[in-house]
């Protein structure tokens, strides 16, 4: 077997257990692939020593016949996760050189399950962005290319998406506040699931918007997503918003049988000016699910049009508060001060130097919408809208809908730098199909379905009932098998 890094988790798992390959070999192939993929700028901190030690330990566990779910599986970790002793800086200059003395619950769960850490992955700064262009490391690059033009891998989990799509690792962690797993997954032809809010612990993950943030896996297949999510998820007493629920065997839910299930097609997701290709893709996906025996139902989610504005009030509001701790006092960047400078100068200069433009913009928006006199008009109204959006979904599910099918993104991957001079709101429109899911706390998954006319991957999104990730993954599994999406980007890097 050459190029072991191209394996899926499930294939590698079976081969490892069968003794057909070793975790060390698998890890070396990934490290070599990363070495050759500098042009993608996906990995921003490499941890080969940790990887080799973990791989060796995994081989021993496999030999001893005690291999847990991810034993020997090499993964990439989004820079937003705190990993003990390893740079964890949320792609921000303000955390330059920060090495936490603790391990996030999610990554600890992965290591406990035998996974191997290859290194940290590029992302938008503090997970704020849809193109990975706000990173302090420079942007990651999509392995898919058109006419020699470099494309965005999407954001904020752009490094994760690029690394998985380019087979630099078997899978990666992502986080999703408004679409940051699903949009980059769709842009790079991979699978990405955001679980129900509370399914995965937020402890040790740098916070963007606490009431929306959820971590999830970004993988090469739906089965891999099921395997990895089951390991990432846990009830964590250290996160008060983590649900005290048992984690089901998601892989066992992949029966491939969705006969009699009701799939909702929300009419409000048919946006003005939606590209015909996306429209066609959506119809194609609908037909696939229908062919698999599901019942297709037109549904209405009437408050959808208010989701994006509500999201861009709630998320920046929470972010403005969450990012207040980056003040130069205890860790991270501190501006050089001159004689006579006081604490105000220290704050102002540290934060001006440490935060990029987009982060500054959102901190300012958030501060504004929470300020006296504007709170009711913005933040409180957004909370009400949020409750209505959740109610829309509750009503749909109460009417018997099992899953909702929508496009994942309004377009395929766009060119890097293309949006540089655009109104920021245009960039925010990337999240139009995904933010509702975060606002409602629901699970959502992006599945690659086809290539567009340019030869770029396009994905669809399935939205599930709360806490029913197993059922959602099963719908995604059916879609994946029907689509038969096997395309890989041509290697140019």
């Amino acid at each position: 077997m050459s190029a072991l890094n191209e394996l899926t988790i499930s294939a590698a798992r079976d081969a490892l257990r069968a003794g057909e390959l070793s975790a060390v070999e698998l890890t070396e192939d990934c490290l070599a692939a990363i070495e050759g993929a500098g042009a993608l700028n996906a990995f921003v901190h490499l941890t080969p020593d940790i990887a080799r030690a973990q791989a060796a330990a995994a081989d021993l566990r496999i030999k001893a016949g005690a291999a847990p779910s991810l034993c020997g599986i090499p993964l990439g970790i989004k820079d937003l996760f705190c990993t003990k002793g390893v740079p964890s800086q949320a792609a921000s200059n303000i955390l330059r050189g920060f090495r936490p003395e603790y391990e996030s619950t999610v990554t600890q769960n992965l290591w406990d399950a035998g996974a191997v850490m290859l290194g940290k992955l590029n992302m938008d700064e503090f997970a704020m962005g849809s193109s990975n262009e706000t990173a302090c490391y420079g942007n990651a690059v999509n392995p898919w290319k058109v006419d020699g033009r470099q494309l965005t891998p999407g954001g904020s989990s752009g490094g994760s998406a690029a690394a998985v799509a380019a087979d630099l690792c078997l899978a990666a962690t992502g986080t999703d506040t408004g679409g940051s797993i699903r949009q980059p997954a769709a842009f790079t032809g991979i699978v990405g699931i955001k679980p129900t809010y509370g399914r995965v612990s937020r402890w040790g993950v740098v916070a963007f918007a606490s009431s929306l943030d959820q971590a999830g896996p970004m993988t090469k297949s739906v089965r891999d997503a099921a395997i990895m999510l089951a390991t990432m998820a846990s009830h964590d007493p250290k996160d008060s918003t983590s649900a005290d629920l048992a984690v089901p065997d998601f892989e066992a839910a992949l029966t491939g049988d969705i006969r009699g299930k009701k799939i909702g097609i929300p009419r409000e997701y048919r946006m003005d000016g939606m590209p015909a290709e996306i429209e066609a893709l959506w119809a194609k996906g609908t037909a696939m699910l229908k062919d698999a025996g599901a019942e297709i139902v037109d549904i209405s989610l009437p408050h959808t049009k208010y989701a994006l504005p509500a999201y861009y009030v709630v998320a920046p509001a929470e972010a403005s508060s969450n990012l207040a701790r980056y003040d130069g006092v205890r860790y991270g960047h501190r501006a050089k001060l001159g004689a006579g400078d006081g604490i105000t100068e220290m704050y102002e200069r540290t934060r001006a130097e440490g935060f990029g433009k987009e982060v500054q913009r959102r901190v300012m928006i958030g501060t504004y919408v929470l300020s006296a006199g504007f709170y009711d008009a913005y933040y409180n109204r957004a909370r009400k809208v949020r409750a209505l959006i959740k109610r829309d979904f509750d009503l749909a599910f109460a009417a018997g809908i099992d899953a909702i099918l929508t496009p994942a993104t309004p377009s395929s991957a766009f060119g890097l730098g293309e949006m540089a001079n655009a109104d920021p709101v245009e960039m925010y429109l990337n999240d139009v199909f995904t933010v509702t899911v975060n606002l409602a706390g629901l699970p959502g998954i992006a599945v690659p379905v086809a290539l567009d006319a340019k030869g770029l991957p396009m994905g669809l999104q399935l939205i599930g009932r709360p806490w029913a990730e197993g059922d959602l993954l099963n719908h995604a599994y059916v879609l994946e098998r029907a689509a038969g999406f096997v395309s890989k980007p041509g290697k140019w890097w």
Binding site: F81, C82, S88, A90, L95, F98, P100, E101, Y102, S104, R202, W203, G204, V205, V206, A207, A209, S210, S211, P237, K238, D239, S240, T241, A317, E318, S320, S321, L323, A324, R325, D327, V329, R330, Y331, I343, Y347, T367, L370, S371, A372, Y375, Y379
Partner: protein
């Protein structure tokens, strides 16, 4: 509820201005540190006086990705406090973030409860004299995090930060503006402190900053306050100023008095009071402006998304209610009723729970009034003189109880008892054994006393004649006999014998 239904309200403090009389209206926000070994949202220790920055968990230092988890014990303490103030316990409350930048506030926000506090309306009865008490309404109690400490005087160019106090649980206890003078304000704080200490929910050590308060002061013309009381319309009252962070009863009174006079002078001069936050400078004895309403921080409060609403069950509250200690008002009333103590003595003995417990042990199975006298006058007097508190008393309640029982049984006289107390205080030992061993026992044997009486009468015929003419002089014989007995003869028995023998 034990109440003092007949207590009347004290007269409000009146300050004579240059043009007219003025009354004061005062409301207090008391920040009481919750007695708990761990902080409100982290497991770090709350021990006072530790090495700087040694009691700091990752969440206290606001490290990236760290999350708060509520300390159930602190919640129980807040509920206990609410129950102690006969207040509404809110089964659902919620935490909010109060955002501002300061180096001793690592998160950049304080987690507090603005919109839904855990405790609602309650009441504290503040006694201002026998039969006089002010009922002060409590508006709310909420839980919040304390900030750390900034230290600016260790280095000429740098400031230092100690995060040991960061995240320690505070209860903010907010009163309505029902307090009408500086003395009342101090008495309110003292009463609140007493209740908290009884409950064990706050140590109340003001010097350590364990109990601090912000005082809101305004002035109004006589009659205006009553209009406010009728309507609850604040427009009848003057504009208030808030004096921040007071941690001494004396300073509270001085600051209020100064602030009221400052406001009166401004208003009488035709000026307007500006609503603002002020600081009291005890060295200069004055308050000065800290920041005006315009400069006030915009705290951008919003619900803390890291914490779910705090939901507690009635059964849990009931369990806490079932294990409540007896509170000062109840204890005092019981001491008056059961032991026949005066209002004053009962007040002194119940000031601290430890004192009351000591007294009750002394009084066990004997005369409560006598026990109270001995505890207050002899023991407390002596301890105070030597700067000890009750916990350091060399005389145990069992020992003092034994002394009281010896007096009550007539085994020793009051005078001998004082000698005995001195011996027990300085040397220790079992009082009954000391009395026997040192021959201090009072003589009640009438034969022995009779012999002494006969002897004194025989030796003083002239005095006998005088006494027969003026029976009041019989006391002289009693004195002589007691003296001859070395104080051990029972005075009652002697008096009776003297009267009989003299034929009076």
């Amino acid at each position: 509820m034990l109440d003092h239904p007949r207590a009347r309200s004290p007269e409000p403090k009146v300050i004579a201005g240059a043009k007219s009389d003025w009354e004061l209206v005062i409301g207090l926000e008391v920040h009481a540190q919750v007695a708990s070994n761990a902080k409100l949202f982290s497991g770090a220790s709350t021990l006072f006086g530790s090495e700087p920055n040694s009691n700091v968990a990752f969440v206290d230092a606001a490290m990236p990705g760290m999350l708060p988890v509520i300390n159930e014990y602190c919640v129980a303490q807040a509920v206990r406090t609410g129950l102690g103030l006969k207040a509404q316990i809110n089964l659902v409350s919620a935490f909010d973030r109060k955002n501002y930048f300061y180096p001793d506030l690592p998160q950049g926000y304080q987690i507090s409860q603005l919109y839904q506090p855990i405790v609602g309306e309650g009441e504290i009865i503040v006694e201002m004299g026998p039969g006089v008490a002010r009922h002060v309404r409590i508006e709310r109690i909420h839980l919040e995090q304390d900030a750390g400490k900034s230290i600016h005087d260790m280095d000429p160019t740098m400031s230092f930060v100690d995060l040991n106090r960061t995240g320690v649980a505070l209860m903010e206890i907010v009163s309505r503006p029902d307090i009408r003078g500086p003395e009342e304000a101090a008495a309110y704080v003292a009463k609140l402190r007493q209740i908290l200490r009884y409950l064990g929910t706050c140590d109340g050590n003001m010097q350590n900053g364990n109990l601090r308060c912000d005082v809101n002061v305004s002035v109004c013309k006589p009659g205006a306050y009553e209009k406010y009381q009728e309507t609850q319309d604040f427009s009848h009252l003057g504009t208030r100023c808030e004096i921040k962070n007071m941690n001494s009863m004396r300073f509270i009174q001085q600051a209020i008095d100064y602030e009221a006079r400052r406001q009166i002078a401004i208003v009488e001069d035709g000026g307007k009071i500006i609503q603002e936050t002020r600081l009291y400078d005890p060295d200069k004895g004055e308050t000065r402006s800290m920041r005006s309403k315009e400069e006030a921080h915009d705290y951008r409060y919003f619900p803390c998304p890291d914490l779910l609403p705090l939901e507690i069950e009635q059964a849990w509250v009931d369990a806490i209610a079932g294990a409540m200690p007896e509170l000062p008002d109840e204890k005092k009333l019981r001491f008056i009723n059961d032991f026949g103590l005066s209002d004053y003595d009962a007040g002194v003995l119940t000031a601290e729970a430890e004192n009351a417990a000591y007294f009750e042990k002394v009084a066990e199975g004997t005369d409560g009034k006598l026990a109270a006298n001995w505890v207050i006058n002899e023991l407390f007097g002596r301890l105070k003189k030597e700067g000890h508190d009750i916990g350091e008393s060399p005389v145990s309640p069992e020992q003092l109880g034994a002394i009281v029982r010896l007096i009550k049984a007539g085994d020793i006289s009051g005078k001998i008892a004082k000698d005995l107390f001195e011996i027990v205080y300085t040397e220790g030992g079992d009082p009954a054994e000391i009395v026997t061993a040192r021959g201090m026992k009072q003589v009640t044997d009438t034969t022995a006393i009779e012999a002494m009486v006969d002897e004194i009468i025989a030796q003083n015929p002239a005095q006998v004649e005088k006494a027969k003419e003026n029976p009041k002089l019989a006391g002289w014989f009693t004195g002589q006999v007691l003296k001859a007995s070395g104080g051990k003869a029972n005075p009652a028995a002697v008096t009776e014998l003297v009267t009989r023998k003299l034929g009076l």
